[in-house]
């Protein structure tokens, strides 16, 4: 029983991070019908930039409390990632508007590889450790353990997601974003500058990605130029699971996928009599992806495609 609770807690931590990244995929898809496969790399840059900033501060002998250093790192990483997202859309996707669907898809994959290479040029091929400034004290809760940092991660993810959903549902910008996703030509007639809305979508999604990247780096105490690939794929799976284009779906899909994955990893050893170990945990995400694509391609909260009459 305590293993079960432990896996649920672990699942909530990774799941809320997946959800944050999945929002970036699903927002862009909702507005442009495009899967931005370079989004994982934006997450990676968020982690890398934060680590670099914190290491520089620590190296320069700045003695501030750990959490404050992370916040400073975030305050630099978020705008940096927003700039990357904005630039990606401007130079890679905007010229391809109206091009056949395959063109932006291939561009996205190319961008993803290019951004990884840029990261190698800046940070090298090795794992970059997160400076030891954070407290990893464990709290025991009904036999399961969780760190304070993980509680902060979950709480912050939920807070950001509620904030984003409120923004999209209640503000004028959010209304314009939804209108643009449903009918860009008519939104233009209403005076919405569709290009600005698309830029705003990329900027917001990249900001969320930056935060997620920092969370991944603090949770695993390291970052790597290739980290964005796997986490990006899983977040994409989460977005598809929830129903791509649907914000609430991305949140549910992310958390659900995190829990499925960690329960799977926790029990696979028992289920296969020790033949497969928890190192197979990545398999679960993609099994889920395949099952969703076969049995419910529109996702848990997605509508049927025929809805657009």
């Amino acid at each position: 029983m305590d293993i079960f609770l432990q896996q649920i807690l672990n699942g909530l931590v990774v799941g809320s991070i997946y959800a944050l990244i999945a929002l970036g995929y699903t927002m862009v898809y909702g507005i442009m019908g495009l899967i931005n496969f370079a989004h994982g790399e934006v997450v990676m840059f968020g982690a890398m930039v934060t680590i670099t900033v914190i290491s520089a501060l620590v190296g320069a002998g700045v003695s501030l409390p750990g959490p404050l250093l992370v916040i400073i790192g975030l305050l630099i990483a978020i705008p940096a990632c927003m700039l990357i997202g904005f630039t990606i859309e401007r130079i890679a996707y905007r010229p391809l508007r109206g091009a056949p669907r395959l063109a932006p898809l291939i561009t996205a994959i190319g961008l993803s590889i290019s951004l990884q290479q840029v990261a190698i040029l800046i940070w090298g091929r090795n794992y970059i450790p997160f400076p030891p400034i954070l407290n990893h004290d464990v709290i025991t809760f009904l036999g399961a353990s969780i760190t304070k940092l993980q509680i902060v991660i979950i709480a912050l993810c939920l807070l950001i997601m509620v904030g984003l959903l409120t923004m999209v549902e209640k503000t004028k910008l959010g209304r314009a974003m939804r209108a643009t996703s449903q009918n860009p030509a008519v939104a233009g007639l209403m005076g919405v500058n569709v290009n600005s809305i698309i830029s705003a979508t990329f900027v917001i999604g990249s900001g969320l990605g930056a935060v997620a990247g920092v969370m991944v780096a603090t949770n695993y105490d390291q970052a790597h130029y290739y980290m964005g690939y796997m986490i990006g794929m899983k977040a994409f799976t989460a977005a598809v699971l929830g129903g791509i284009g649907n914000l609430g779906g991305a949140v549910c899909g992310g958390i659900l996928l995190g829990i499925i994955e960690s329960l799977g990893a926790g029990y696979i050893g028992d289920l296969t009599g020790g033949f497969l170990g928890s190192n197979y945990q990545d398999v679960f995400a993609f099994v889920v992806l395949i099952l969703v694509l076969i049995f419910r391609p529109s996702g848990l909260l997605g509508e049927k495609l025929a809805d657009r009459a």
Binding site: R175, R178, A185, V186, G188, L189, M190, G191, V192, N193
Partner: protein
């Protein structure tokens, strides 16, 4: 000077010359209709007026300005609104959110609220359904949403593209009553219609468009009596 003055407008659309040099004008306060068969170039003309389609040549003067200098998403800020063909509502926004999208380009929040109340007075049906998703409404109700939305942008000129399309005859009657109501509010309108009789009956002036050209124009009553219009468009 006319509110809208179009001279020798030509538009090519996917390799086809859809509009072949037309001239027309609309004065302040008028309700003018553009009638013609399917494919005559009426919708293309409207889309060109709001910058959704680029013209090949000719000039469009709107309210004393050259329309070519206006960005397509800025037309509404210059007072040009359009109810597109097929209504163009946002199906997954509520009725009220759809209406508020019409006021997107405005910042006078208090006045927008007052006008929203007036729109609801004009269309009590929409008030009942203000929290409902617009995509769940009937065709006639959606047309009301589209017209209310356009009115909330406070247009100097309102373009209506086929408002009767796909609606039952009894609803079409209702929509034309609404058009007359809106006209009575002092909104200048250009109405594009295939339902020539109704359109001419509510309008002051009319133009007839045939394969990209305007072949007739003048007083709407006179057009209703015109032999050629009666034969070709009124089925007499």
């Amino acid at each position: 000077m006319s509110l809208l003055d179009v001279k020798n407008l030509q538009v090519a659309y996917g390799g086809i010359q859809a509009v072949k040099g037309i001239d027309f004008h609309i004065d302040q306060g008028e309700l003018v209709t553009l009638i013609g068969a399917n494919g005559a170039g009426k919708t293309t003309t409207l889309k060109t007026l709001v910058g959704m389609v680029k013209k090949a040549s000719g000039s469009i003067q709107f309210d004393g300005k050259d329309a070519a200098s206006i960005h397509s998403h800025d037309f509404v800020r210059h007072g040009l609104a359009m109810v597109p063909e097929g209504r163009g509502i946002f199906p997954k926004l509520t009725v009220e959110e759809n209406l508020l999208m019409g006021a997107y380009a405005r910042n006078d929040t208090a006045q927008i609220q007052d006008e929203l109340v007036r729109i609801y007075d004009l269309f009590p049906r929409l008030k009942e359904r203000c929290r409902q998703l617009a995509g769940t409404l009937s065709g006639g109700e959606q047309q009301m949403v589209a017209m209310g939305r356009a009115m909330l942008s406070k247009p100097k000129l309102l373009l209506l593209d086929e408002p009767s399309m796909g609606l039952a005859p009894i609803i079409v009657q209702k929509i034309f009553e609404i058009i007359q109501m809106v006209a009575a509010e002092g909104v200048t309108m250009l109405l594009v219609e295939q339902n020539a009789r109704l359109a001419l009956e509510v309008s002051q002036r009319g133009y007839v468009m045939e394969s990209g050209k305007i072949t007739l124009g003048g007083d709407a009553r006179a057009l209703l009596d015109d032999e050629r219009v009666r034969n070709a468009y009124l089925g007499e």
